[in-house]
Symmetry: C2
Subunit: 338 residues, 2 copies
């Protein structure tokens, strides 16, 4: 099928760029050295491609993602790298899958035990002001977990504040500082897992036993300055629905495409339209001025680059794997919701 | 059911605020004077409430919204206030519903005729750089449409750039200027419909025969400065999943709730947490500092106000109508997608 037959807006994934990204990462971090994060694509068919490249353990951000991965037969070793209190749904999976949950407090330890979860990692704060206990508190949390009958596999800690540091040497130095906190906590906690890192630090993080990278298959434009070897693979296909007619002398030559706030993650700002300047987005529209004023016409298809991939994917029901203008596969984005 | 039994994140709609908003608008613009825009809530159950207040004609932004409204039995008079080229899906509804489509170019006129659409409005640009033909071109577009066998019901034009002008008198003056353009186009086009306006200008727009207001049932925090008589009705229920433990002296007293970029429209910026300062949002998290440092604990439920309602709603599968902490109804957000 040609992309002209797709309804717009539509998520497109460039098959060659995706394969390049998956192969490049699998060469750098083979097998269990990578624990791919599914939150970035929310698509079990894409996770299955990652499994095809040798990765059998995955990271999730939501209970729904864990449930969906189990249902897809990808539940060999799932980490919910997030604190949750509603753990009964996870406990219900225990006989069909291996599910490990992050804990960082007595409350989350209690919830894990009460819900029938069997294994946990102690989540340690390594500099990003978000979840994770103080490093000095990690041993105590581990003891609490063991006292509740939970197996403690080790620690996790996410240096998310360092992913976009542009200079690689500086990124490496800061990552080492951050991971020194995690290594000390790991010594207090025990276990053999040190789970950390992301696409931005996959090559610099030498402390983690496994890297939780999520963005690398589809990539974000924000990573453009970091010199990473991965290629942007995701665009949103749009149809131009309105344009200043050639006879108008008064109206500036802007055009309008049918992608907007309901099809683009906007927390990193406006999307990019190659060969044009984006003015603004509305619910279902992006208004932009082409560099060549008469080059874009009503009915044309354009590929828009969202500023942030993860929340963009969460707005779409499916993604289309494309080779040029040919749709080679269509995958449901089946891990949405909570 | 108590809201404590809901999975989070969860959309909550305050039943009393919703009813106040619906009744206030119906009193100001009864029956067909209002053509409620469903894009703001994407929920046929809420549209049915609007119909219960006397409004039988609705505005849509996407083909899917039109299809869903027809399927819900609300297809008496639907306006797709947007240019589309993929019109066959609309033509397929023609025997079951009255569907009118906006056109602003020869291409969109041709598409409407080819797809089996029967009625159109000529969309006129009234100052917002988005869709709509030049006002001087409206008569020509109408002639093109009639020549293709389409019935031309009149004109539409959206003064979206004026919705948030804080001073009411200034908003009224600018709206009158903008609508003078639409009135001239209406005289060239013919027909009896002049469809325009929104929640911000519903009281000031005296030219439109019908107002396309969408935000008024749920309301946006951005309208707070405009002095409108509608109340914010929508929040996102969250669970606090992580917090600095009381014994920590080092860590600042921030807490983390389970709403983030995947459950909040972010184009207007960060959400608001009453009694707290929001630091930042991640995919599934909002980090915030409570004004009273020890007042928020792991497991607490908090109601977060999204900065922009429309794209927030599009991220959720359902919304819960609540009376205090009691869930009185649960509605599917059934008009999502395209």
């Amino acid at each position: 099928m040609d992309i002209r037959e797709l309804r717009t807006p539509a998520l497109l994934v460039d098959a060659a760029a995706l394969e390049h990204n998956l192969a490049t990462m699998a060469a750098a971090l083979p097998g269990a050295r990578l624990r791919p994060h599914v939150k970035a694509h929310k698509t079990t068919a894409l996770a299955r491609r990652q499994a095809g490249h040798g990765h059998r353990s995955f990271t999730c951000a939501t209970i729904r993602e864990v449930e969906g991965m189990v249902a897809a037969g990808l539940g060999e070793d799932l980490l919910l790298a997030n604190e949750v209190l509603d753990t009964r749904r996870l406990g219900a999976l225990a006989d069909r899958a291996r599910v490990t949950v992050a804990v960082d407090s007595a409350e989350t330890v209690d919830a894990a035990a009460a819900g029938g979860v069997r294994e946990v990692l102690v989540d340690v704060n390594v500099g990003l002001p978000r979840c994770g206990c103080d490093p000095s508190d990690a041993g105590r949390i581990a003891d609490l977990a063991r006292a509740r009958g939970l197996a403690v596999r080790g620690v996790m800690g996410y240096e998310g504040h360092l992913m976009l540091v542009p200079d690689r040497a500086e990124r490496a130095r800061l990552t080492a500082e951050s991971m020194a906190l995690l290594a000390r906590a790991a010594a207090d906690v025990g276990g053999d897992v040190v789970s950390a890192g992301g696409t931005g630090t996959y090559a610099e993080n030498t402390v983690a036993t496994e890297i939780q990278a999520g963005s690398y298959p589809l990539m974000d434009t924000a990573y453009g300055a970091t010199g990473l070897p991965f290629r942007p693979a995701l665009t949103v296909l749009a149809t131009v629905v309105s344009a200043a007619p050639p006879r108008s002398e008064v109206r500036p030559p802007w055009v309008v495409a049918d992608v907007g706030l309901k099809s683009l993650g906007m927390d990193h700002g406006n999307p990019t339209v190659p060969g044009a300047t984006v003015w603004f987005c509305s619910d279902e529209h992006t208004t932009f001025a082409p560099d060549e004023p008469r080059s874009v016409r009503v009915g044309d298809r354009v590929r828009v680059l969202p500023a942030h991939v993860d929340p963009t994917v969460a707005l779409h029901e499916r993604m289309h794997l494309v080779d040029g203008d040919e749709v080679v596969e269509t995958w449901p984005v089946d891990l949405r919701g909570w």
